[in-house]
Symmetry: C2
Subunit: 346 residues, 2 copies
C-alpha cells in the first residue's frame, strides 16, 4: 500500500467531487463507436445496435473481498473490472462499457486513487472497454468499489445458465484452484510479516498462483473461440465461487443432474505442489476455492469433436437426469454428492 | 430504525448470498418487454430498440448521505432509486431498468433489508422500472447502496448539459430548497431527542419540507410534458447539489454565462417560513441546498409561449455571453457572481 511508502500525499478534499472524477478519468480513451457520451453529463449515452444488451454489477468491500496489506491498489482496480467482465463473457457476449463507483475514507490520499484508476485503465485498454461513468464519495471506513459492466451479444448467441440437457458434456476453461491457493500463500506471508517485518519472503515457487489471485484475467477469448469453432454452449457460468457451486447453479437452473470426474479437473502443477505443502486436498480447493474467473459450460455431446484436443478446454463430466443428483466421481470410483461451499462473502 | 422496535430479527447469515437475493427480489414484477432476463444469471439481458441507451449510477453511504436515526429504511430504498431515475430524466429520457447493490454490516437483520427493498419495490412500481440485478455483500461498518439506472431516449430527444445558447431562457421545475430545510428540521429534532428522548416533536408545520427530504420524487413527467408541448431543451440537468452549482455546470459546459433573478426563484411558503425560523436566507438555501431532484433546463426564447403559465415551470433567468459571467441579480438589483456550494459529500 501507498501508506508504507514515502510519496506525496494529496488530500482528496483539495479537489472536491467534480475535480476528482475529472482528474481520475481524463487519461481514459474510448474504443467503442457505441459510446456516444461517457463521463461528464447526468448519464452516459450509448448507441444501440441490433444486439441484446448485457448488464452485470459487483461490489467489492475492503476487509471482506480484499485486503490492502497484500493487494496493491493497481491490481485491485484491475481485478474489480475483471470480476464484472467475466460475467459478460459468461453470457457468451462481449463487454463494451463499465461504470466505476468508489467510496473511500479520508485515510486514502489522491495518489492511492490514481493507483487504483491506473489498474482500471489498464483493464479498460487490455479488454477494450470504455469507462462511461461512476460516482466518487467518501466513506466512514475503508474502501468500497462498485463496478457495472455493459456488454452486447446477438440474441441467438446469448447463453443462459438454464439450458443444459441430459448427456451434455461439462467443460471448463483453463485450470482452477490457483487463485484460492494464492490467497492462502499471501495470508501466510502476511502473518509472517506481522511477526517479523524484516523477513524477506521467497515467493518464486508461487508466482503463478499469486498472479491468479492478484491479477486474474477474464476469458474474453472464449466467446470468440466458441464462435470460430461453431460451438454454442447450452449453458454457461463463470467460476467466481468455486467449481462445485457453479456446476450446481447450472444443474439447478437447468433441472438436471451431473457427474463430475475428480481425475479430470484441470489443476496446475503449482496448485498440486502447494496443496500438498498446505496439507490441503487439491480437489476440495478446485471445488470450493473460487475467484478463478474461468468459464464453465455445457455442450451437446455431438460437439465433442469440435472441442477435443483444444488446450483451452477440459471435459470434466457430463449432465445426467435430475433424479440422479449432482455427484463427484472420485479417483476411487466412488460417487459423492457435490456441496456448494463457495468461500465468497455473503 | 428497526432496532428501536420489538420485531423479529433474522440473521443474514442464515440465508446466504443466493437465498438473500432471491428472498428480497421475488415479489418484484417486470413491466418492460425490453427486460428479457432480470435477476438470476451472470448478467441481465435487455432487448435493444432503435433508441439510445442512458446509463447512470450513484452511491449512497450511511453517515455520509443518510442518517438512519431519522431516515426510515423504506424511504431510503425509495430515495436511492429516485436519485438515479432523476439523472435519466435529466437526459430527457425514460428510465426502464435498475440494478441495486448493497453492502451491510451484521448489525442489520433480514427484516431491515426487507424494509429497504419494500421502498425500492414501491419506487419500481410507481415509476415503472424493472429491477434486473445487483449484488448483496457484507460490510465491516454501516450500510452502502449502489444503484445503476438504465434508460432510453430517441437519439434526437437526448438533451446534454452543453447546448445552452445566448438569450435562452433558464427554467426550473417545481420549487426548490425544501429538501435541504427538511434535513435541518430532522437534524434539530435528532438533537432534541438526544437531550430528551421523551419529547414528542410537533412536525405539522414542516410536513412538506420533511417529505421532500425523506421521499423525493423524480420528475418522470417532465420529458413527456416537454414532448407534448413540442419543446426540446437546449440543455438540461437535475438539481441534486443545489441550483447554483447546476446552473454553473450548464454554463461551463455550454461555454456561456447567465443571469439568475433572485425574485424569480420558486420557493414553497413552508420554505420561506422555515428559513426565517432558522434565521437562514431562503435564496442561499435554494442556491446551495440540493437534493430537490427537480429539473433545470434552458429553452430558446422563441419557446416562451409554449411554457409560460404552465404551473410546472418557472423562468428564473436567461443565458448570456460567457464573458458576462454567471451572476445572480438580487432583489436590490445588484449583480453578484454565483458560487458553487453544493453540500453533497465529496
Amino acid at each position: 500500500m501507498l501508506e508504507n511508502k514515502n510519496q506525496n500525499r494529496t488530500s482528496l478534499s483539495e479537489l472536491g467531487e467534480f475535480g476528482l472524477i475529472e482528474h481520475l478519468t481524463k487519461h481514459f480513451n474510448l474504443s467503442h463507436t457505441s459510446t456516444i457520451k461517457a463521463v461528464g453529463d447526468d448519464a452516459a449515452v450509448l448507441q444501440t445496435s441490433d444486439k441484446q444488451t448485457l448488464i452485470t454489477t459487483d461490489l467489492l468491500v475492503e476487509g471482506v473481498h480484499f485486503d490492502l496489506s497484500y493487494m496493491p491498489l493497481k491490481h485491485l482496480g484491475y481485478k474489480a473490472v475483471m470480476v464484472n467482465l467475466s460475467d459478460v463473457y459468461a453470457m457468451n457476449g462481449n463487454a463494451e462499457q463499465i461504470t466505476v463507483s468508489i467510496a473511500v475514507s479520508n485515510r486514502f490520499p489522491l495518489e492511492a486513487l490514481e493507483e487504483l484508476y491506473a489498474g482500471i485503465q489498464l483493464a479498460c485498454e487490455t479488454y477494450k472497454v470504455d469507462l462511461i461513468g461512476g460516482d466518487t464519495t467518501s466513506s466512514t471506513k475503508g474502501m468500497l468499489i462498485s463496478v457495472t459492466a455493459i456488454g452486447k451479444a446477438a440474441k441467438e448467441d446469448v447463453v443462459y445458465r438454464n439450458g443444459a440437457k441430459e448427456t451434455d458434456l461439462i467443460v471448463v476453461t483453463g485450470d482452477i484452484g490457483a487463485a484460492y491457493l494464492g490467497l492462502q500463500v499471501l495470508e501466510r506471508e502476511k502473518q509472517v510479516f506481522q511477526v517479523n517485518p524484516n523477513n524477506q519472503p521467497d515467493l518464486d515457487s508461487y508466482t503463478y498462483i499469486i498472479e491468479r489471485q492478484l491479477k486474474p484475467e477474464a476469458r474474453k477469448d472464449i466467446p470468440a473461440l466458441l464462435k470460430e469453432l461453431e460451438v454454442k454452449p447450452t449453458a454457461m457460468i463463470d467460476i467466481s465461487d468455486g467449481l462445485s457451486s457453479e456446476v450446481m447453479h447450472i444443474c439447478t437452473q437447468s433441472k438436471v443432474g451431473c457427474k463430475i470426474y475428480e481425475d479430470k479437473i484441470p489443476l496446475d502443477p503449482q496448485v498440486i505442489a502447494t496443496s500438498e505443502e498446505f496439507n490441503m486436498d487439491s480437489t476440495m480447493i478446485a471445488l470450493s476455492g473460487g475467484e478463478d474467473y474461468e468459464l464453465l459450460f455445457t455442450v451437446p455431446i455431438a460437439d465433442f469433436d469440435k472441442i477435443k484436443g483444444n488446450p483451452n478446454f477440459t471435459v470434466i463430466g457430463h449432465i445426467t437426469a435430475q433424479q440422479q443428483g449432482m455427484n463427484l466421481v472420485t479417483r476411487a470410483n466412488q460417487e459423492i454428492a457435490l456441496q456448494a461451499q463457495g468461500w465468497n462473502a455473503l
